[in-house]
Each structure stands twice: as C-alpha cells, then as structure tokens.
Amino acid sequence: LIPQRRSRAVTVAASGRSEERAQIEARVAAAARAMLEDGVSYTALSVSDLAAEAGLPRTLFYYHFRDKREVLERLLEDVVAEIDVVARQFWAHKPPFTRAALRKDVGQLTAIWRRHGSILGAIAEAAAYDDVIRRGYGAFIDNMIAITAEQLGQSEYRIRFAPGTTHEALATTMIWFCERACLQIGGRAETDDAAFADMTEALTDIAWTVFEVI
C-alpha cells in the first residue's frame, strides 16, 4: 500500500541475526506505541526517550532505525496491513446492500481506527509538516478511495441530486469524512462507547445515502 521503505541506514547483512533484528525493531515499535498512547505528541517524542523506553542504548537504536520517522513508518505499515484486509472484505459485498451490513462494515473500520488511534493521530500530525510521512499516509488514503470508487463504479451508482459529481469524488468525500471523524471525534478521550457508536452510525448514515439506491 505504501511505498517500499528505503533501505535501512545500516543494513544488517548476516541472515542469522535477522531474528534478533526483528525482535529489537518490534521492541522499539512497541515502545513508540506505548508512549504515543500515553499522550506524548509525535513532535515531542525524542529518540533518547524512545530508546530508554525500549531499554536500548541510543547507538543500537540508530543501528536499526534512521530516525523516529522510520519508526512511525513501521507502525503505519502494520495498521495499513490490518485495514487493508478489512477494506477488501468490506467491498467484496455485492449489491443490493442492507443498512445492517453496511453498519457492520463501517463498524469494523472505525474499530481499527480506535484501536490504533494514537498511531494514526501521530501520523496525521506528522503528515502536516513531514513530506515522507505525508506521502505514505496519502498513498494509504488514496488506496481506500480507489477501492471505494471501484465499488461505486461496479454498482453503477446513479447520481440523484447533484449532477456533475463522479464516483471518485464521492469516494473521496466518504473516505476523508471517515478519516477525520475517527481521528477528531473517535480519538478523543471524552468520546465514550455510546458516542463512538453514534459516530459509527453517522458515518453509516452517510454511506447509506450513497449505497442504498444501488
């Protein structure tokens, strides 16, 4: 989904060490995740703190990751892989749709966003000023839009109210509405389970205006 990561700053060539490498990288990823979940903003996250949290000397951190951005890219890859699986089964449905089925699919998507809210929040934060993260996140969103637009195309959705729109523009609207709601509403501490369910209903209401008539 996102472009292949650049080769590591330092490549660990010995294949026998790959398991150890994977283990250390997973430890750093887990440490970053824990810190973001604790409410540390990505901007405030430092490599020193990250290495300390993972229980590694800084030099070893730099042996595996070029910088904190590369850790964030790694976290994004994991979330993208999870969302991709759901998105594919989501759109594998054939029309006609029922609202209940749509609610279930939207619910699965928002649940992933909630589970990884701190990571996706950090990525959206970094995307505002970091071009590499911005491209990675953009590619992920564009892929979701493409899958949705394809589904609308196959379903021959008929524009009812506003001639001049396209399947792509409709898909773009649906995906960005979903992204923003999950981050700005779903990602907030004061959004309890009831409010989160209400948010999922609202996104389903929006999707349902498009998919109902197919």
């Binding site: 009812r160 001049g164 396209t166 523009a169 960005w176 923003r180 509403i185 209400d198 929006i206």
Partner: protein, 192 residues
C-alpha cells in the same frame, strides 16, 4: 506595518513553507524589516498566523450563518453554499492548513480550531434538527452528524480542494459530491 508583515507571512505560506519552517527571521527578511520592528507588532509567529486565520474563519462563518438562516432551501441552494464556503476556504488554504498543522501539536491552537469547527457543527446540527421527523430514517444523533460533517468539510477543503485550481473540474465534482451526500441525508430526514 502589521499589514505588510501579514502579507509577507501569507506569501511565504502560499509558497509552500510549512508553519514549522516559518521563522521570524524569514518573515523579517520577506517583509524587509528588523526583528525589533516585528516584535513591536506581534508577540511571535503564532500571533501572525492567528490574525491571518481570524478573517478567513469569520468569512466562512458568515456564509454558513447566512445560508442556514435561509428558511426554505433546495438542493441548488445547498450546492451554492458549499461552493461559497469551499471557495473562500481553498483560496486561503495556506493559512487554514497552517492553523490545522499548529493545532495538531499545540493545545491552545487546538482549542481555538476545534471551537471554530464546533460552531460549524452546531449550525449544521440546528439545520438537521429542523428537518428531522420522528419517522426519519437516520440513526445517528443530529449533534454527531453535525460534528462529522463539519470535520469532513474541513478535511475536504484542506486536503482535497486546497490542491485544486478553482476552474479544475475536480473542484466542482468535489462540491457536487458533498451536495449529493448532504442532500441524501436531508431527504432521508424529511422523506422517510
């Protein structure tokens, strides 16, 4: 002088400088003034950005208020209002994106920005509540729908519209898509 500082800062943002990269030094250089002169007018670069954003936010809110007070609306009115909002927003996208960028990590800016989105959400909620019938089909609350639409509109303008020229057909397609969905919601409320 403040006007010149504001214009130069806006120019830098429009050239693609992110708010993080924007420095007092660059602003002074672009304005052709010294640092003490800058500080005589503004506390820091954030004060400059807040001033720039105030006008855009006021203009957007004026459009929304005017439209929402209109008693009888048709689909074409909704499309015209969305077009007016997106045109103002996207033509000042550099400033609006910088405010959104700052809000991602600065708690004070976050409160201000969220308050603005909250006012858009509240106006949208009022509008939906006016249409809502007990036998309407929507399952979410008008409050939540207002928030979801306000944040969605924010992202469509800052992410999608910001990169498009006003005469790009994709700009009109974006307005139409939001109208299609918005009117779809209204029709579900009013016509169960």
């Amino acid at each position: 002088m403040p006007e010149r500082i504001l214009a130069a800062s806006q120019g830098l943002l429009e050239e693609g400088t992110s708010f993080t990269e924007l420095s007092i030094g660059r602003i002074c250089q672009a304005t052709g003034i010294s640092r003490p002169t800058f500080y005589a007018h503004f506390r820091d670069k954030r004060a400059v950005l807040e001033r720039l954003a105030e006008d855009v936010i006021a203009a957007i809110e004026a459009i929304v208020t005017g439209f929402w007070q209109h008693p009888a609306i048709a689909v074409e009115d909704q499309r015209a209002a969305l077009r007016a909002i997106a045109t103002v927003w996207c033509s000042h996208a550099a400033v609006m994106r910088a405010i959104a960028e700052l809000a991602a990590y600065d708690p004070e800016a976050e409160r201000t920005y969220r308050a603005f989105i909250g006012r858009l959400a509240a106006m949208t909620t009022d509008r939906f509540a006016a249409f809502q019938r007990p036998d309407g089909e929507l399952k979410s609350s008008p409050e939540m729908l207002g928030w979801v639409i306000a944040w969605g509109l924010e992202r469509m303008c800052n992410e999608v519209g910001a990169g498009l020229a006003p005469d790009d057909p994709r700009f009109e397609a974006m307005i139409s898509a939001m109208t299609e969905i918005g009117w779809g919601l209204v029709s579900k409320l009013a016509l169960p």
